[in-house]
Amino acid sequence: MKVELSALTTSPQVKQVNNAASERIHWFWFASPQTFYPLAGRMVPWFVWLAVLLCIAGTYVGFFIAPTDAQQGDAYRIIFLHVPAAWMSMFLYVVMAFWAGVGLVFNTRLSSMLATAIAPTGAIFTFLALWTGSLWGKPTWGTWWVWDARLTSELILLFLYFGFMALQAAIDDPRRADRAGAILALVGVINVPIIYFSVVWWNTLHQGASISMKSAPTMAMTMLLGMLLMALAFWMYSLATILSRVRSIILEREWHTQWCKEEIRRAS
């Protein structure tokens, strides 16, 4: 391990820090941007391919195998996009807040970069959930939008993502931007349980969860299969985009280091 380390690291300062860390805990090995950058680069193509394959499988099951719904007809098929997108929007926010919090506490650069990289993907999924929900709401409920607790709290989630991105973009010093963003992300995490439980706590127009930990899913098996395939596809897509985005952020922020300069020279 130590031989590898000294071979990879170039500046004596970095070498010292890495050696000190690796003597105690080895799993922080990939916490350094320099070691994480090639690892992420190797993982991205795998996740891209998995995302493509799962998306094809999920779409096929969703359109050709899953039966029409007894009440809604074919309009229900939006759930193959809507539900996984809504799950991802909430889950990614929690992950973003977690890494932002880790960055705030331990001053680890990579965690903060990960949080920054997650935000746009989370915002896209939030928008997708709102948009597809609206498209579904018009034929099913009879309205594009209502201000019920579920829809409103999901909209607040979108604003939290936008706020996080805007705040980080507004501060020039990346370390200060990380800290300010982390506080916003951590405060906003309170919204996630509110979104999830809104349909339980209050009367809402939005229906309750079809899938929960406590009881059997209230939907046909093939419908469930299509939805889970799409959810997995969204996971893989998120991993692929977040990892490739974090690579760009690493190069952007560490461009002054020797290894980044070499990396950029090799790529161009």
Partner: protein, 148 residues
């Protein structure tokens, strides 16, 4: 205590305080955050009077009656305990069915009839193919005959 432990405690404490504050705010808002009132709540005079609000429940089976003018619909909203008659002029959403969920916005008249200006269908969380639905209906019908 190292600075990072101090930061961790500070953030943990801050988040706990925030969670408690949010919990208090939400429980204080409990009454105002409802999207609709149920017929039981209306019977208990919990719904605002002389103001527009929403009523939610099931459309009672066999209660939907189209008036002679062709655009006015009357139906009864029930939560299985209490009922409220509703009158509505306009087109109903596709999923408006007897025995299914509904949310109507409007005002409660002096005569106890809810004058709705917007009717939304409330979908439940069950998704099933038509054949399964048919089977469930048959089973329920069979169960009823056995009881009778």
């Amino acid at each position: 205590m190292k600075p990072r432990h101090k930061r961790f405690l500070l953030i943990g404490g801050g988040l706990t305080t925030l969670a408690v504050a949010a919990g208090l705010v939400l429980s204080a808002f409990q009454k105002n955050l409802v999207f609709f009132f149920t017929p039981s709540q209306i019977a208990a005079k919990e719904a605002p009077t002389g103001k527009r609000f929403r009523i939610g429940g099931m459309v009672e089976a066999g209660s939907v009656k189209r008036q002679a003018d062709g655009v006015t619909v009357r139906f009864v909203v029930t939560d299985t305990a209490k009922v409220v008659p509703v009158e509505f002029r306009g087109s109903l959403p596709d999923l408006f069915r007897e025995g299914k969920g509904v949310v109507a916005q409007g005002q409660l008249g002096q005569d106890g009839v809810f004058q709705a200006d917007e009717v939304l269908a409330k979908h439940d969380e069950n998704y099933m193919p038509p054949e399964a639905k048919h089977a469930v209906d048959q089973a329920q019908k069979a169960a009823k005959t056995v009881i009778q």
